[in-house]
Amino acid sequence: MSAAVRDAVSVAKAVRDGTLRAETVARDALAEIASRDAALNCFTAVLEQRALKDARAVDEAVAAGRDPGPLAGVLFAVKNLFDVADLTTVAGSLILRDRPPATSDGALVRQMRQAGAVLVGATNMDEFAYGFVTENSHDGTTHNPHALEHVAGGSSGGSAAAVAAGLVPLSLGTDTNGSIRVPASFCGIFGLKPTYGRLSRAGSFPFVGSFDHVGPFARTVADLSLCYDALQTGHDPADPGSADRPIEPTLAELESSIDGLRCKVLGGWFQSGASAEMLAALGRVAEALGAAREVELSGAETARSAAFVITASEGGNLHLPDLRRRPDDFDPATRDRLMAGTLVPATAVLQAQRFRSLFRAQVAAIFEETDILLAPATPFSAPRIGQAMMVLNGVEIPARPNIGLYTQPLSFIGLPIVTVPVVTEGLPLGVQVIAPPWREGLALRVAHNLERAGVVRAK
């Protein structure tokens, strides 16, 4: 096994101990990316010079006896909507390509670097994060590492596929309606969408301010937790959505017992339309957690509609200047969706935001009697590239509009969620481990226990 595919915890320990050089890790990974990424198309930019320079700086810190940080020498990649100094932030678009390069790293990229992590590149995504498949008309399609003819999911597909393929142990993505949880499910890895407002979005290209979240992907829960801990800054005034919360580390609590936790399965909307394989995967996770009871979240379908309307409207408004000036430079599918979004009546958007208050209160009441909720991350495994329709339980349904059925109602109210890859025979399937607001540590602890029990594991 090359150094590139080792887990983050092991690499950081070895680099900090001085038994492994960060530069060696970086060179191995760059060689791996050069030989394998042509078939996968995870990366839109590989930053060889920066990676080697940062890796040497880590090695120098170790040699000088300075603390190189908790992620010393650990490689990571970022969705190409995060600002990276000296690189133009394209957000999967053609339109942003003629902008000047970013003058500094975005907040999370900076956090990772300060923790000793080494950035190796920027990754492919759906244009402006408006999609679930990472079939990008400008940068091509990212292939699922487990079945190249299938999509990786989106919109953070390049970041997820890079981790699933073992090209990097960590990557960063964003999740507005499911864009971390969907590709984590399709690629068979762990993904964390933290509570809305927890991690700073400063220096990342926005999509829908009301729902935009940022978060990490990893192949183990310990790696996910280590990365998440490094990403926390507390309140960041540079992000209008940033919450005034203390830094709450999670890694030290991963091993704590989950005995007595009240885990329940979301029924109704969150199971209707799911494939038999997904329901079986959900059942295995539920059984391992003793989650015998189901709970209904009435209004879930309306929550998805409200998320849909707010997304279209805020996204349309954000891109209206370019829709006026240069509509032909958008991916046609994104453009038509955004154009329609600009035409949503204001009263429908306000109705959606009012319903959001109501739905949040309803879910808060459920969490008074529940610690963890479980739901499928996606209704089915990764569709084939270009696939328009799916046959599900004998019924033909459109594939793309249904991918976010179970993720959208939950990001709508900003809950922290870890997607866990259930051990399966076929293509990967992920389950959402959903915690109350600000309880990322609890969701990670449950995920870690499931991993230890052998119920979930990165493919």
Binding site: S305, P332, D336, M339, A348
Partner: protein
């Protein structure tokens, strides 16, 4: 491309174009079929939302922090 839009959808497109004009947006012919499809999808979601009878005590979720 206009011909690919069913007659029953032409009124929807006309209304969309009228609304778009109010915000300085032109909907080119090449975009019209896709915009109509998306407007119809959005309308289903809007219908579900507008069927709600919300109490006047329910305020929008975003909070402005001065």
């Amino acid at each position: 491309m206009q011909s690919t839009i069913p007659a029953s959808d032409k009124a929807l497109l006309a209304h969309g174009r009228e609304t778009a004009r109010a915000i300085g947006l032109d909907i080119p012919e090449s975009c019209a079929p896709g915009v109509v499809i998306n407007l119809k999808t959005l309308q289903q979601h809007i219908d579900r939302l507008m069927a709600l009878d919300l109490s006047e005590s329910v305020e929008p979720a975003p909070v402005f922090r001065p």
